[in-house]
């Protein structure tokens, strides 16, 4: 299964970025092969509006089934749900630590957006 973690930098030792739409980058991780790769998010990071929606499109294209992040707003949540991606908020520490927490079932799927939408 492919999962995506929002990250402040490349590699599994980087810190989780608590922001979804305006995260620095995504770490795409395959739970079977244990392979990780980094995907740039500059386009959404610099978007005037709709960063969360665009970031959701990006990770949907990557074929991710789950997202581990800090927070998720309403428009991003709606887009991710439409794409069939399960959202886990409250991820913290390094990307590797977040993945371990996820694999051990210590993260629970978010039933809703956990923060308000913001415009700019």
């Amino acid at each position: 299964m492919k999962i995506v973690v929002t990250s402040t930098g490349d590699g599994l030792e980087a810190r989780v970025d608590p922001r979804f739409g305006r995260t620095t980058c995504f770490i795409l991780y395959d739970t079977e092969s244990k392979e990780a790769s980094s995907v740039d998010n500059r386009q959404s990071l610099n978007a005037a509006q709709g960063a969360g929606i665009q970031a959701a499109e990006t990770i949907a294209r990557l074929g991710a089934e789950c997202l581990l992040t800090g927070h998720c707003g309403p428009k991003a949540y709606r887009t991710l749900t439409a794409a069939g991606i399960r959202v886990y908020t409250g991820a913290q520490g390094t990307v590797a630590e977040a993945i371990v927490a996820f694999e051990q079932g210590r993260l629970t799927p978010a039933a809703n957006a956990d923060v308000e939408g913001h415009w700019v």
Binding site: Q49, G50, A56, E57, K75, R78, T79, A82, A83
Partner: protein, 294 residues
């Protein structure tokens, strides 16, 4: 002739300058409050509102029977108001700018446009000042369509004063576009200077002639003055920190009504701006200084 009053920093005195310029004119003038998220010029001008008109944005609606999920609509939308993932398009009408691109590119004609009310234009009169402002509906995110509608509703032949929103973002650019001259109001503080520099960058990018008014000129430091000097920016007026001005403001009284001796200053300011706006670029204006001992 259109003069816009803008600022980087909020609360520097845009509305004070715009309203008092309007009230100092001998000829009829129109004042447009383009700060549609928080209009306040009416509090000082107290116009009698005579007309109201809704502002609507055309937003897409999708006929899912005809939609083939090709994704063209999502690709053309720069505002992420319509996205296509696995299934049918997802719509975010609150992000839509109403450009109609999605409906144009849809190969099966599945997208039609329906009007959505985002705000209101109100027009009125106070003496010889024709007044109009926009009001964005609470909860709406996009001020620009309301600002555009407000600017479309003006009399082209009159002197027009625009009270712009603060900052340097899209609503400000929409307010300033098409102006003949921009007055940037600032205060002589580090915050004022920081945001003035941003505003100067914006008006230069828009290639609009501009000058600076320093409000509450006796506070803070001289960095704004030094900046204007080194950048050869015309300094149009310095308004002193004054208790009577502040008291009038707190009562919602325009400065030129409460302190009639200020009227000639605003008249002169306006004459200088008009001269500058019609003159070749690069010519420095004589500074008008309101006496501190009001």
């Amino acid at each position: 002739m259109t003069l816009a009053v803008a600022s980087g920093k909020g609360g520097t005195g845009k509305t004070t300058v715009a309203v008092n310029l309007a009230l100092s004119q001998r000829k009829p003038v129109q004042l447009l409050d383009c700060d549609v998220e928080e209009p306040n010029a009416h509090l000082f001008l107290q116009p009698e509102i005579r007309e109201r008109e809704a502002v609507r944005v055309q937003v897409p609606s999708v006929d899912e029977e005809r939609c083939t999920s090709c994704g063209e609509c999502g690709r053309i939308c720069q505002y992420h108001a319509i996205v296509l993932l696995k299934t049918k398009p997802l719509l975010f009408p609150e992000l839509c700018h109403g450009c109609g691109g999605c409906a144009l590119v849809c190969p099966t004609g599945a997208i039609s446009e329906t009007p959505r009310e985002v705000g209101m234009i109100e027009r009125g009169l106070r003496g010889s000042v024709r007044f109009a402002h926009g009001r964005l509906k609470v909860g709406e995110a996009m001020a620009v369509p309301v600002i555009r509608a407000l600017k479309r509703s003006t009399e082209p032949c009159m002197l027009t004063l625009i009270d712009a929103p603060p900052g340097t973002s899209c609503p400000v650019v929409a307010s300033l576009r098409g102006s003949d001259f921009v007055v940037l109001v600032t205060e002589p503080t580090p915050f004022g200077l920081n945001d003035l520099v941003l505003a100067v960058g914006m008006v230069r990018a828009l290639e609009l002639p501009f000058g600076v008014v320093i409000n509450r000129a006796d506070i803070g430091d001289s960095d704004v003055l030094d900046y204007c000097k080194t950048q050869a920016i015309p300094l149009l007026l310095q308004i002193p920190e004054n208790r009577r001005l502040a008291e009038a403001y707190s009562r919602g009284e325009p400065a030129v009504k409460a302190l009639p001796e200020l009227r000639p200053m605003f008249e002169t300011l306006c004459e200088h701006i008009l001269a500058e706006a019609t003159m070749p670029r690069g010519r420095l204006l004589k500074e008008v200084k309101i006496h501190a001992d009001l």
